[in-house]
Symmetry: C2
Subunit: 282 residues, 2 copies
């Protein structure tokens, strides 16, 4: 069966047409923790909807729909990228969210701070400090995958953190602490943005960069899924939680859910999904 | 008469409302070389059209219209900023034009060159070199005065030219030549763009920055008015000249005008205006 459909062509979101590759789905489903039996069932369902030139978005939706029926927390993990988009439209919750990743790793974190450079003042999105490091980050939240960080972003963020680093070094001559400037985005970097950033010692993090330690990997490792990934919650309920400052599913509890006016019969399911979702992976 | 209208409020293009100040018009007209008698006449005409809240754009148009009837080459100088806008919509003629300013000052100039930096390759808009200096410029052409260069522009252009300068210094260890990175725009810089650029040794030039040596001043001093400033030419005739690569009124001659199919009876007037226009000022 796999052989007969392997020649089906699918249309990617950027318009490129490529062969349908079931292994991609298998890899992703294994990564988010789906059981082999579930993967097999989902693949069978996927084959049924395939047609020549089908948009990959449709395949994604079908897989997500099937997963939701089988295991909501696995579906939430599968849909993580969209859950991060759902933190928008403003970039502010994303900055808070990136801060939370560093808090979980033991850093002391501040967001939205004005910092003096050698030449000018800069608004820094996230500062993550521990005994040996001072990390300052510029976060670029994009509402669509089509927008990404170009080399201009790397260049201007690089210059900005050099300006701050120069000033910081003047004032902390004796410090053994290391200073790092970061560019963080929820989408991706262009190739030359990465080339320049890496070469000029700018730390960079995107959805899947650096390899095995991008945003997705960190979220999975730390179990820091956003509440926007919880499938059992309605969009307006998620928005209310974000407005209340509840960004992580870890921060959810039955009292908070009750305070939203959520029917008590739904609460055990939501809490179960949330607990499974933000269980550390691997 | 001046006293009675001095309380008239005018509306600037950015929406701010300020008192009408005839001295501003007098200063500008003197700067472009208008005679005192002409200035007096134009002011009289201006007073006639004033009303409460009149847009400054309307005043500008009235002054320009009156100047055109009196002295076309003075009108062309008065309208220089719009003549630079008329080099658009692409930024390419502006880069050529900035190059011509440096050629006139004795530099050897190249435009649109790919240059290796320490980390990546960069497309450099203008390179102006002489025996003691190597200047590399990023040109930002904007089609409207409302768009200007922000600190992000200063930061990214600064980082870009540091990348090139580092690579150049490695390869030219013994050179006594000075390397300068530039940000050039036909509109203006934000205050912090100037603060950062000046502090970080980025050379900057805008319409009126630096004081007395901005784009306007350089054009006036060098007599390098663009052909788009010639009032006697129609818009489509100017476009044909730009397409032929004739950017400076200095480059105009009767043969070129004939080749455009311009009626011979108009040519002496056009040439007279062009010669007067690109006469060096002060």
């Amino acid at each position: 069966m796999e052989n007969t459909v392997s020649q089906i062509m699918v249309t990617k979101s950027d318009g490129r047409i490529v062969s349908f590759d079931p292994n991609k789905i298998i890899r992703v489903l294994r990564k988010v923790g789906a059981e082999e039996q579930a993967i097999s069932l989902i693949l069978q369902q996927t084959y049924k909807i395939l047609y020549e030139g089908i948009p990959t978005k449709k395949i994604y939706k079908s897989v997500f729909g099937n997963l939701k029926r089988m295991d909501k927390s696995i579906a939430g993990r599968y849909n993580l990228k969209n859950a991060i988009f759902a933190l928008g439209p403003s970039g502010f919750p994303f900055e808070k969210y990136v801060g939370s990743l560093f808090i979980a790793e033991g850093y002391f974190v501040k967001t939205g701070v004005s910092v003096s450079g050698q030449c000018v003042e800069h608004e820094v999105d996230v500062i993550a400090e521990n005994i040996s490091e001072l990390n300052m980050m510029e976060c670029k939240f994009h509402s669509t995958n089509k927008i990404y960080c170009s080399i201009q972003h790397s260049l201007y963020v690089r210059a900005r953190f050099w300006d701050i680093e120069n000033s910081w070094k003047e004032e902390n001559v004796d410090s053994s602490k290391m200073f790092f400037g970061w560019l963080v985005t929820n989408t991706r970097f262009s190739t030359d943005a990465i080339t320049y950033g890496t070469c000029s010692n700018l730390k960079m993090m995107s959805w899947d960069f650096p390899l095995n330690n991008g945003l997705r990997d960190r979220i999975d490792k730390l179990g820091l899924h956003p509440i926007t990934a919880i499938v059992s919650l309605l969009k307006k309920e998620k928005q209310k939680l974000l407005d209340m400052g509840v960004v992580l599913c870890k921060g959810l509890n039955t009292d908070i859910l009750k305070s939203l006016g959520i029917d008590e019969s739904r609460i055990p399911d939501i809490m179960k999904e949330s607990t499974n979702l933000c269980r550390k992976n691997k």
